[in-house]
Symmetry: C2
Subunit: 189 residues, 2 copies
DNA sequence: GAGCCTAGGTATACGATGTAGACATGTCAA
DNA sequence: TTGACATGTCTACATCGTATACCTAGGCTC
């Protein structure tokens, strides 16, 4: 709050003439950005439209570095948040999915619906110098052979991950899974 | 820190004779619990073993209410954390998965590997009284028809969700998806 | 037995943070 | 002209993690 006040060239307490408190401010900020999520290109095919909407969420949230922690710290859903969730569900209902499946799919997609995911805990970054890196890997390999194996042999080893690709990979895994369950007439019993 | 000191019947600063700072303490707490994750029943089938290990993580983390936020606040991986990740990868490598697929699978599973998931933003809980609830739903339905449709027609409507079932649903969606990609000789190109 | 190190605890204080409460001021309607 | 209201300011407080300086009892060395 004090930093924001500084940036506005104003006393911290001046902010409180406009908002109740910090939490309400964050609510409003999240709401504002979430409201940006347009309905994207809908073609009437539920999986495509769901994917498009989630990618629209991704592009909206990624424009604001503070959005991830802001969303994650909210404890109640704002109108815009509810609208986004409602739109996701509507897409699935329109596609003929059962209420049961929509329910479970929403839980499964909850880690993706805002367009970002909490990363795996970061492993130490490898040194840039090749000789140095080889030595670091060797030491590391003693205790964590599989991590090193993956880090050294996966395509793009050494480079940083393509986060868009990783996001899409997991998203499609979930969407394809839901589609398959739907086709098989899945029910939670 | 001050509350912990109180509980120990000691001055806050006494704690600092034993640890560097609050962050290191949380690191150690997480490390301690993560180390509890035993290798569970391994039967030599990668999907089963992966599932078992993640469920072992779930049972370890769920014993400690503070674990979720503690893990989520860590910025560097501890030895026990690395060991858990290494074990997950080893299981997949042993199952014959490619380095490429292991890499992507780990990203996709990163939201499940500790045995918990960040919940969907909570929607307002429905009133207990049936008449009151009906009225609340009616008002809500005007703006969020699909949410209400799901909430009222999904099996177990009105009851609270079975979080274990929801966790398993999403986990299996991911595992089955990875298995299918593996069977089809998937590669990221 | 004298001296001293050290592990573990205390007392005090500081800076950052969100925010309560009382007070000032400029604008505009009545 | 008056007074209400919107918008600021100033001061102060509780809470938090933690730096610094100091104390003390037990056990070691000589």
């Amino acid at each position: 709050m004090r930093r924001l006040a500084d940036e506005l060239g104003v006393t911290p307490m001046a902010i409180y003439k406009h908002i109740d408190n910090r939490e309400r401010l964050l609510d409003a900020m999240v709401d504002h950005v979430v409201a940006e999520i347009a309905s994207a290109s809908t073609v009437g095919e539920w999986k495509h439209d769901l994917r498009a909407r989630i990618l629209a969420a991704r592009s909206a949230t990624r424009r604001h570095p503070w959005m991830q922690s802001a969303i994650e710290s909210r404890t109640a859903a704002s109108p815009a948040v509810l609208a986004h969730m409602d739109a996701l569900m509507a897409t699935m209902f329109d596609g003929g999915l059962s209420s049961d499946l929509v329910h479970h799919a929403m839980h499964a997609l909850s880690t993706r619906m805002w367009g970002f995911t909490r990363d795996v805990l970061p492993t130490p970054t490898a040194p840039a110098d090749p000789a140095e890196r080889a030595r670091a890997y060797a030491a590391f390999a003693e205790h964590y052979p599989s991590i090193v194996r993956m880090a050294t042999t996966a395509p793009g080893a050494g480079e940083s991950c393509d986060t868009d690709a990783e996001f899409l990979f997991a998203l499609d895994l979930l969407l394809d899974g839901v589609e398959r369950l739907h086709a098989n007439g899945w029910s939670s019993r």
